[in-house]
């Protein structure tokens, strides 16, 4: 069910979907990356996935995106089983994502990168594009207006919108990535380490934006992060992975005290996480 043709505010009104991962098993040759991973991200809430390096967090994201095919298990977006949906079709179902290592397109400006988020809503054909006929032009202008008002103003990147992305500082690039994901009209937003490498101020700004997105648009946010302070502050539900398995899940407070979680991060016989 594609969201093309509806406006961003309409999609927002329909709110976030639940995302469920059920019994996902992922192997790379001999490496068993994910074993029976199951968790759910409640609609319209912020859920965090944490765990030590190599625990399988990005593998989970890549499986949800469809880049990896699980050996077993299902991915459900709302009520829909998207396990076998092709990668490029998941955008149309409402699944948006940012990447751990910034995946902006260097050959395009900020505005063009963000517009690319709206790619799955564009339907003009090649011929219309070549002659820039009525269909292509109206679609482009519609996209431009939507992206400018809803995303570029919202994330305060209007002053850099015509710059090429590779001249931007790191923090701004991360924000442009988020903008691009928002332009996809997401119902579920996957954020892979959105504040990695950011200083305190940038982290707070990003956290504020993420909360704004979740509150104003009702989008379901699934977050992978190492910054524990941020995770504990903004998420309502936390899932902990270690060695490809879910070892704990619950509210931030519960997870913080969970003995297996403490052991995974700090080794046995340590103080509880502050």
């Amino acid at each position: 069910m594609s969201t093309a043709g509806t406006s961003l505010s309409q999609s927002a009104a329909s709110g976030g979907l639940a995302l469920s991962v059920e019994g996902v098993d992922l192997r790379f040759g001999g490496i068993h990356a994910l074993r029976g991973v199951s968790f759910a991200a409640a609609p319209g809430q912020v859920t965090a996935v944490i765990g030590p390096n190599g625990a399988g967090k990005t593998s989970v994201f890549n499986t949800i995106s469809g880049f990896y095919r699980p050996a077993a298990g299902r991915i459900l977006l709302g009520d829909e089983d998207i396990t076998h949906t092709p990668v490029h079709a998941r955008a149309g179902r409402g699944l948006a994502r940012t990447f751990q290592n910034i995946a902006l397109f260097r050959g395009l400006t900020v505005l063009e990168n963000v517009k690319l988020g709206g790619h799955h809503t564009m339907q003009a054909g090649v011929f219309s594009a070549l002659v820039y006929g009525r269909a292509a032009r109206e679609e482009e202008l519609r996209l431009r207006a939507e992206v400018e008002r809803k995303v570029i103003d919202f994330l305060e990147i209007d002053h850099v919108r015509h710059l090429s992305v590779d001249v931007l500082p790191y923090g701004l690039q991360k924000r442009v990535e988020l903008a691009r994901a928002l332009a996809m009209r997401p119902r579920v937003l996957l954020l892979d380490e959105p504040v990695a490498g950011m200083n305190r101020e940038e982290t707070e700004d990003m956290a504020r934006f993420i909360l704004d997105v979740q509150e104003e648009w009702g989008v379901t946010v699934l977050l992978v992060e190492h910054d524990m302070g941020m995770v504990m502050d903004i998420s309502s539900h936390v899932v902990v992975l270690n060695f490809g398995q879910v070892i704990a899940s619950g509210t931030p407070a519960e997870v913080r005290r969970h003995p297996q979680v403490i052991e995974a991060y700090l080794g046995a016989e340590s103080e509880a996480l502050a």
Partner: protein, 346 residues
Amino acid sequence: MRTGVFHENFASEERLWDSPTSRTWMAAFVLSLFTLPLWGSDYVLAMACIVGIHVIAALGLNLTTGNAGLISLSHGAFIGVGCYTVAWLGKQGVPFYIALPVAGFVAAFLGVIVGLPSLRVKGLYLAIATLAAHFILSFAFREWDAVTGGVSGTSIPRANLFGFELVGDRRNFYLIFVCAFAMAVAARNLARTHIGRAFVAVRDRDISAEILGVHLLRTKLTAFAIGAFYAGVAGGLLGYFYGSITPDYFVLTLSVFYLAAVIVGGLGTVLGSVLGAVFMTFVPEGLRLLASVSSQAFPGVAGLLLPMGQVVFGLLIIVFLIFEPHGLAAIWARVRRSFHLWPFKT
């Protein structure tokens, strides 16, 4: 962005020529080219025709290789397809305004087939696969006597506009000029739509593009198809211009020639295609001039023309790749910027 140009809505900002100054310059340029047959010598006119054909082919290759990052070594073969299609259709009595687009579509169709391996392979493997396609098509040019006339080539009936024959450079010039201008505008249009953006996305990070909703195979095949379409039209115009052709023209060196043109001109920009085509047209001309001038002093220099041309092509590619990877278009942009900012230093 020029000073004094203020856009009040998105529509005016998205326009191709968004300020009165750029519109004036473009109008002057078009007008001067349009009136070329009146003030240009025969030689200039002939060169203009050849430049026009090269521009169209370069535009196509730049879309496939520059924008979408798909290295194509079969471009020369696509041009051949366009030429032979126009030749065959012309012999059946099909007028040029039908034959030319058909040539484009036939080439585009083959472009899609050549691009199919991009489903499974990418980058360098794909480049070599296009090389294989080039050899297969060259073989067809040499052997399919019924359509291509085989090794001895074929003649192409002149383009005919309701009895008005397009013989000679002056008449062909208008046809070529109109096609080149329209196709250049089309290429720029493509860049400001989602399809053009998708090309660049596929070039820069195709997996991320796919996760963002870009259908990879469809985008890559579109890039091949459009590039080949341009090549087909260029080939058709080539046929009408020269009137006869042999398969020797469509060798691998031709594909390398256009590759050099888009690198020297600037990958991924329409201006780059134009500048590169102009530049590469005048390289053989310059060599020819040099050869004729120095043939008094060094007889037999004429025989060196072709090999020296190859050396120069190769040198140009390497020099530009090392020292000016964004090509003449980048140099042009720098010069323009210093003009705009004058008297401030850039």
